[in-house]
């Protein structure tokens, strides 16, 4: 177990900056998610922590010790890759034992540790198989067992769920999270999927174009986005943005409700033209535009279907909608959040 600290990490490929001065620190036992669109530099950052890439500038410290010049094997870190990187010519047993063999752990100890790790992940019955004989979910567990068998200082996970189908993904998400809480390993998890980030992270670092846009708990990322990028990247559908006093005014689709549904508190009213609506079972998404605004600026509302009178949302009609004032977020011209209008 350890803390991981990055200070002003910069990585350039030629003239292109993949990472542009990222600083963050991960507490002992914390589950930090790096969330960002593809190509934002999050995987490169993870590889720098692992030692697979060398940063152009900045320091990586593990447990307070700067490890810039240490090779990956001296950092005591385990990493799990997107395609798992299992060794196809080894059995599951030998795959899990490999990190121990490289450290010349005695044979008896290897046997007990492999047994421990495979029991932890419930893959004892797979030990004599080869990776190609396993399903996607089983491969993922083997990769996790291999990463954990030597009790790493920190665990790095690079989009570990992206190769699983949707159903398996949600159960695997749950499993990894529970598992991490049980063993308490400091974990850095890279994903572009906000559902994974919100569901699993103790904290989330939102990354775009090689910069950290915001670090915080899932709730603070969602409720108090630091800028326009975070506001529109997190949340489905994304936060509505309309031009406002040279900047932007934002509100979440679930806060944008028919006027009659908001009973108390101060509100800002809009006249909303309903173009179409989608019924998704647990919710209804309504698309339209606001009076006096460009038709290109599509606004969405997310309504709980049980509580909405159907008359209120007939496509092709205007209807008064409103947002509670405390749900409004203001962003200035450069996209940075402003606390008041």
């Amino acid at each position: 177990m350890a803390t991981v600290t990055a200070t002003e990490i910069t990585k350039k490929f030629g003239d292109v900056s993949a990472i542009d001065g990222v600083s963050l620190s991960v507490a002992d036992g914390e589950f930090l998610v790096l969330l960002g669109p593809s190509g934002c530099g999050k995987t490169t950052f993870l590889r720098i922590i692992a030692g697979l890439e060398k940063q152009t500038a900045g320091d990586i410290a593990i447990d307070g010790m700067v490890v810039n010049d240490l090779p990956p094997r001296a950092r005591g870190i385990a990493m799990m890759f997107q395609t798992y990187g299992l060794y196809p010519h080894y059995t599951v047993r030998d795959n899990i034992a490999f990190p121990l063999k490289t450290q010349r752990v005695p044979k008896d100890e290897i046997r007990t540790k492999v047994a421990w790790a495979s029991a932890l992940l419930g893959i004892e019955h797979l030990l004599d198989r080869r990776p190609r004989q396993l399903s996607g979910g089983e491969r993922q567990r083997v990769a996790l067992a291999r990463a954990l068998v030597r009790e790493p200082t920190a665990l790095l996970l690079d989009e570990p769920l992206s190769n699983l189908d949707a159903k398996l993904r949600s159960s695997a998400r749950n499993e990894i999270k529970q598992f991490q809480q049980r063993v308490g390993t400091t974990t850095i998890y890279v994903t572009h999927d906000q559902v994974e980030a919100m569901g699993m992270g103790d904290r989330i670092a939102v990354i775009d174009h090689g910069r950290v846009r915001q670090i915080g708990t899932p709730a603070s990322i969602y409720d108090d986005p630091a800028d326009r990028f975070v506001a529109t990247f997190v949340g489905t559908p994304p936060m509505n943005l309309i031009d406002w006093n040279g900047g932007h005014l934002g509100f979440r689709p679930e806060d944008f409700l028919p006027r009659e549904m908001i009973e108390n508190g101060e509100v800002t009213e809009f006249s909303f033209f309903i173009e179409r609506s989608e019924y998704l079972g647990s919710e209804r998404i309504v698309y339209g535009r606001l009076e006096g605004r460009s038709a290109a600026q599509e606004i969405t509302a997310k309504l709980p279907p049980a509580h909405v009178p159907l008359a209120a949302i007939r496509p092709g009609e205007w209807h008064p909608f409103a947002v509670r004032n405390d749900a409004l977020r203001y962003f200035d011209q450069s996209g940075v959040r402003r606390r008041q209008s």
């Binding site: 990956p72 798992y84 060794y87 196809p88 010519h89």
Partner: protein
């Protein structure tokens, strides 16, 4: 409606879609290859088998059947036994050397460096240069008087002018020379094979090994090499077959000499059967390649099947 459909169907000829049938089309497409192999490999092979059991010579073309007498003659000949041993030394020596050079060449060419593409293109040269040209150049390099190799060794002070090695005259060195030339011809092929194999390994696997604590050697010999083994074995089978049956380098560089020190099966069969005209014994010598190659290929193919990943 029903009557109409029946009439349309009735008008179609049985043979209108004959080329849509896999049996017909497949046979048609395979025929040229099969005829080619049968006519140019199968027939000469059967002919060779028959020659080896006959008393056929250029001077006395008789198909008189002599049984295994030719093979007995050949096995009892000291020159042949020397040749058989040479063939193995030549084949395995040059393949091992070629593979080692190929592995290191591939590792070097995997690293990005300026001009890598040009080097990659140039490195193929030994393989594509006509063998006669290349061997003439090597002959000059191994020459007793003008040897550029000896000149370098003398200039570096490793040997003196008086005890400079006489590459193509000393029996051991002559064998080493033909091995080196053949390895030089083979190693670009080995590089291509290794490069193809290594670049096909997912980067995640190599990265995983690195993070798991494997250093350069362990990564190479416990992860990369086993993973590319199937493709290397295929390359090796090709190399072994071509080298085992090759006679051109020996023919051009040493002519089997000195005193049969570099004579190999292909060369000896050619000498006896074509140059000396003793077709029967030449065929018998050449047929000694067959069981060896057969066993080799079977062993290798079984190995590949077991290794399949």
């Amino acid at each position: 409606m029903v009557a109409l459909a029946e009439r349309l169907q009735a008008r179609r000829s049985r043979f209108e879609f004959v080329f849509d049938r896999p049996r017909v089309l497949g046979t048609l497409f395979l025929a040229p290859a099969i005829i080619y192999v049968l006519a140019l490999v199968g027939v000469p092979f059967l002919l060779a088998v028959y020659y080896s059991l006959s008393a056929y010579t250029v001077y006395n073309p008789s198909y008189h059947f002599v049984g295994l007498q030719n093979f007995i003659d050949v096995i009892n000949s000291g020159v042949f036994r020397r040749t058989l041993a040479n063939t193995f030394i030549f084949t395995f020596g040059s393949q091992i050397l070629g593979l080692i050079l190929g592995k290191f060449g591939a590792l070097l060419l995997l690293r990005p460096f300026p001009g890598r593409k040009i080097v990659r293109a140039l490195i193929i040269l030994p393989w594509v240069v006509p063998i006669a040209l290349a061997t003439v150049a090597w002959e000059w390099m191994f020459d007793s008087l003008y040897s550029v190799i000896n000149w370098t060794l003398i200039a570096l002070g490793i040997v003196t002018r008086t005890d400079a090695p006489n590459w193509l005259v000393d029996p051991g060195l002559a064998m080493l020379s033909v091995i080196v030339v053949n390895a030089w011809r083979f190693f670009p092929f080995a590089i291509v094979i290794f490069l193809a194999g290594i670049t096909a390994i997912p980067q995640d696997v190599i990265d995983a090994a690195t993070v798991d604590g494997a250093g350069f050697w362990r990564r190479n010999y416990q992860i990369i090499l086993p993973m590319i083994m199937p493709i290397v074995v295929v390359g090796l089978v090709f190399g072994l077959v071509f080298t085992f049956t090759d006679l051109s380098i020996v023919y051009l560089l040493t002519n089997g000499g000195p005193v049969n020190a570099t004579s190999v099966l292909g060369f000896e069969g050619f000498q006896v059967g074509i140059i000396s005209g003793d077709v029967a014994h030449g065929a018998a010598i050449s047929l000694f390649m067959l069981p060896v190659l057969f066993i080799l290929v079977i062993v290798m193919l079984r190995f590949i099947r077991r290794q399949e990943i």
